[in-house]
Symmetry: C2
Subunit: 230 residues, 2 copies
């Protein structure tokens, strides 16, 4: 979702940065097709990698590690120090929008990024959930965390919301539960949309072709709603 | 998978403990149907909650928090202190098997639990992956982490491996990629099995009814292979 949001905003002519603070599971470089591009370190700081599509400036621990499978244990203080460098010691240049992709949960990464960006007053958080009731606990804590830290919650997106059988076109709830609607009602925040699973999107990565996929219209609607709130 | 493994072992008469060290996303209490049971604190330590089915002794941050949606930020050192108490200051009693459910990644939780259990020489780690190639990076680091910390890798299980359409029975790869087989070959560890998505299992939780679900036989085969390795 972070990549799709960044790509749509970039397609409209915005200067977009995409920061991946998921230190243990960085996925942005793969999704943007910049897996093999290293981050250059200059005397003024790190130089973000620029994606071929949309010229999105991006920084991820996935581009900072020499090997993708390096067995690094990321303890809290080390995560905090890394994210600080990613914000403070990086040549982001002028940006219209900085999209930050966080891991699930409410831990070091979230506290660090919210504290570092506090003076710039971030526009808000878009909360992703899967449909299972089991997800509601984690996501509730994320919403309460945003409220406590004065980060406006722009809305909730339910991901993996149904699967369209390529054989008979029957749409099944792969993960039942309706957690998106339930959480939106409970915390009085908008439900921005429900994105079905999309084989084409999963196969292609998002660097090409997603514009023709069945979820494309859903994504465009969601992004339009996010932009309304900004 | 941790709950299914614990339930099968308990069904065979073993005394089983199930420790949930996923501090930010605890799901075990819900899955075992003990969500409303608090952990009792005595002068000798915490008393694990006992599940109605299988008499599994379980401890999870989900049972320790007063409200499920409490906005607690879990920084690294706080996670470490909690997990230490969960092992050292808890009245586990005599157990035949202690199953530990960890979050994804290689962070404070993993380092803490491996260090705390080092003297007891844990039998090994069962690594879960989803089928997408995107998952391979995180899972690779988990395997390398185990190797570095001298925890034997018992094998890999591919989860969410296909979806059987309830309308036409066509099995589709919801998430393509074959990451399970790919990782098993790359790191020369056994592929213990591939578990399809199962609506029945997702709806029911696992506290009842899973024994009749289509994945039941897959789960039994996987557990049999794990037991062989112990």
């Amino acid at each position: 979702m972070a990549v799709l949001l960044a790509q749509i905003l970039a397609g409209e002519g915005q200067r977009v940065g995409l920061l991946d603070v998921d230190v243990c599971g960085p996925s942005i470089p793969h999704l943007l097709g910049v897996e093999d591009q290293p981050v250059l370190d200059s005397q003024w700081g790190w130089q973000p990698v620029v994606s071929p599509l949309g010229k999105i400036k991006t920084l991820s621990v996935g581009s900072l590690l020499s090997s993708q499978s390096q067995a690094v244990v990321w303890k809290g203080p080390r995560k905090t120090a890394l994210i600080r460098r990613m914000i403070k010691d990086t040549l982001w240049g002028r940006l219209d929008t900085l999209v930050v992709d966080t891991p699930p949960g409410t831990s070091d990464e979230h506290l660090t990024i919210v504290r570092l960006l506090a003076t710039t007053r971030p526009s808000g958080a878009v909360i992703l959930t899967s449909p299972q009731r089991l997800a509601a606990g984690v996501v509730s804590r994320e919403i309460r965390f945003c409220q406590k830290m004065n980060v406006p919650v722009l809305g909730i997106i339910e991901n993996m919301s149904g699967f369209c059988c390529p054989c008979c076109s029957e749409v099944s709830e792969v993960f039942p539960g309706g957690a998106g609607a339930h959480l939106a009602e409970k915390y009085r925040v908008p439900l921005l949309g429900a994105m079905p699973l999309d084989l084409g999107l999963a196969e292609a990565g998002v660097s090409c072709g997603w514009r023709d996929s069945p979820v494309a219209q859903v994504v465009r609607d969601v992004v339009a709603k996010i932009k309304e709130k900004l």
